[in-house]
Every structure is written in structure tokens, then in C-alpha cells.
Assembly symmetry: C2
């Protein structure tokens, strides 16, 4: 791509560093900003810089937070003895949206993935094991995505906590509510058969 | 969407102002920036601010440029008497990539679109008409997209310059090179029949 301006080229190059944003999309976004009043670009850039400067991570669950201990961890009406292990803040948001879960979270910050250079030491695993060791945790729920990396991470953590007095569980995998069986993939459908539940339980699952 | 941090929420909200970027995509982009070293966010924001602060538009063709008269307009080996009218800088880049056009451009900065509140006065039309009036222009090539807005804009400009001694033309519409006829839309295929060219001309068109 040949640019008529070095300033434009630099802005497009930086914008296209973002995941899923190619050069053409970056150019479209940058030209949009150029057409807007300068204030919009200033709002965007100051919001991004403020976030990078001042954002904190909850010292207990490692979720993104503006305070040292996040609202979820500080909420005494939640069950402090149940911990749901998730990958990142988006998973916390998705689970909170269900309104079902009343325990606490533990945000790992990623999954073990040697191919991306992410080992266990880069994740928030030590603090999770310490929580379990301290004896205050009754149940650990694994809610990572069911990929190879997710399974590896689950198993790595499971091995470290299984000898302590703690129940471990994983969220159910199966056919989504409202989905047609004929369109489901074989692995999910097969798993949903093997892990079938008593019919009475399925009635009050919603 | 419930955010665990106001700083995160603000960054996501500003990011989702960009066209085609929804809240979920914005969250993904912002979390990506958070995972990177802070320098990457600083590079992005400074590139955007520098661009908005210092970018110039060529005083002759209104293309984005770092200097008063852009490289294309200042290039004396180009044919200064042929002007190709385009919508924005992306069209200039696309046409330059062909390597075919040796004249100058005139960037309108948009199309007449009452529904978006864009009238002729917001576009760079007056300077184009003045160029034609000055008598130095031999041909004006219309290369706007063939939408209702594009056609309206073409016609508006055409009416203002047709009485001067200037040839007007429009880029050819037809079946793209390499495309199968059976998949072409009826309008394009019909137009390509009506506007057929002598066979000999089709041979040296590539």
C-alpha cells in the first residue's frame, strides 16, 4: 500500500497492529477519525492511555478492577468458598450475565499454550493453589474453553489441588438450549449422551 | 454489558465509536492493548494524535498529504490537463496501484448525500469548477462509485462544467477481467452489452 502521507501511513500501521484489523480496515478507521472533529480522537486516545496507566487487577481474583479488591470479591453475600476458574475478564462478564453464579472467580489471564510461549508461570495459578491450600475453598469450578490449551491448563491446576480437601468440577458441555440436534457437532452430541443427567434434574435446570 | 472497571468501560465505549466496531470487538481490542507493553498503546495514540494535528490536504487536489502540494500534483511528468474526480484518498490509492493513470486527481471528500446531511458545499467542487474554468483542463474523468449518491454528484458537477471547453468521461462499467458471465449481476451485464467496444480495442486494453 502506497500512502500519500507519512503521518497517515504511521497511523494505519499502528492501527493494523490490533488483532483482526488489517491494513484496509485500519485505513478505513483512521480516515473516519480524520473526518470527525479532533475531539473524538482525543477522547479515544486519552481513554486508552488512562486505562493503561491506571487500571488495576483485583489482588484476590486478578479480574480487571479500579480498586484493590474488586466488587465481586468484596461482596460478602457471595459464597467465598466456591471459586470459578476462568481465562479472562470477558468470561467473568459472560458468567455474571447469567445471574446464576454466586461464588467468586479466579482469572488466570490466559491458557497454557507453549506454541504462544505461555507457560504456567505467566498465569495466575500460584495464587489459586494458595487459596485452595488455605482450606477456605470448598469447590473449584473449571470454566475454561474446551480446547487443547484449556484442557491442559485445567489438568495442570487439577494436579496441584487434587490432594487438598476440595471438590473439583467442570461446567457442563452439551447441546445449547434451543439448538436442533441435527445441526450439533458429533463430539458435543456424543458427550451430551455420555454425560446425560437424571430427567428430573433437567426440568429445574432453567 | 457490565464492566468491572470504569476505565475499561470508557476505553471500550470510545473504541466502539469507530465504524464497524461493536462493543464486543472493542472489548477484544482494548484487552489486547492491556496485555501488550504500554509502549504499544503509546505508539498508537501518538500516531493518531500526530496525524490529526499535522496532516495536510493538498491545496490543488485535496488529497491527504504532508506538504502543501502533493507529490502527484507536483510531478511535472504527469499530464496536468487530465483530471480524475474521486471520492477519497482510498480511490486515489486504488487508481495509482493500476499504474495506468498519468493525469492528476481531484478528491471531492465524499458524495452528495442529503440523507447524511452532505450537500455540494461540503465537498471540494468549487475548486474543481475553477480549474476547469481556467481553461487548463482538457478532460475530466468521473470515477465515483456507481451508487445513487455517486451518480447525483457526477451529474451535479457535469452540469457546472459542461459549457466549458472540456471533455467529460466516466470510467467503464462492465464484467471484471477474469469473472464468469453467469455470476455477474444483470445490470452490469446489460450495461456491458450496451456499452460494448470495437473488438480490436478490447485486445489492447490490457
Amino acid at each position: 500500500m502506497e500512502f500519500s502521507s507519512k503521518l497517515l501511513e504511521k497511523a494505519v500501521n499502528e492501527m493494523s497492529q490490533l488483532p483482526g484489523i488489517g491494513k484496509r480496515t485500519a485505513l478505513r478507521l483512521v480516515l473516519h477519525l480524520l473526518k470527525q472533529p479532533k475531539e473524538q480522537t482525543e477522547l479515544l486516545t486519552s481513554a486508552l492511555l488512562n486505562m493503561c496507566d491506571s487500571i488495576k487487577f483485583c489482588k484476590s481474583c486478578h479480574n480487571i478492577s479500579d480498586i484493590d479488591i474488586c466488587e465481586i470479591c468484596a461482596n460478602s453475600s457471595r459464597d467465598q468458598s466456591v471459586i470459578c476458574v476462568v481465562e479472562d475478564v470477558r468470561d467473568v462478564m459472560a458468567l455474571e450475565n447469567t445471574g446464576i453464579f454466586k461464588g467468586l472467580y479466579h482469572v488466570l489471564g490466559g491458557k497454557i499454550s507453549p506454541i504462544d510461549g505461555v507457560g504456567p508461570s505467566q498465569l495466575n495459578i500460584v495464587t489459586l493453589v494458595e487459596k485452595v491450600k488455605s482450606g477456605t475453598v470448598r469447590e473449584v469450578i473449571f470454566a475454561l474453553s474446551s480446547t487443547m490449551e484449556g484442557d491442559t491448563t485445567n489438568f495442570y491446576i487439577y494436579k496441584q489441588i487434587k490432594d487438598f480437601n476440595v471438590t473439583t468440577s467442570a461446567i457442563a458441555r452439551g447441546i445449547a438450549i434451543g439448538d436442533e440436534l441435527e445441526y450439533a457437532d458429533e463430539v458435543t452430541l456424543g458427550r451430551s449422551l455420555i454425560q446425560r443427567i437424571p430427567f428430573e434434574n433437567s426440568l429445574n435446570s432453567k
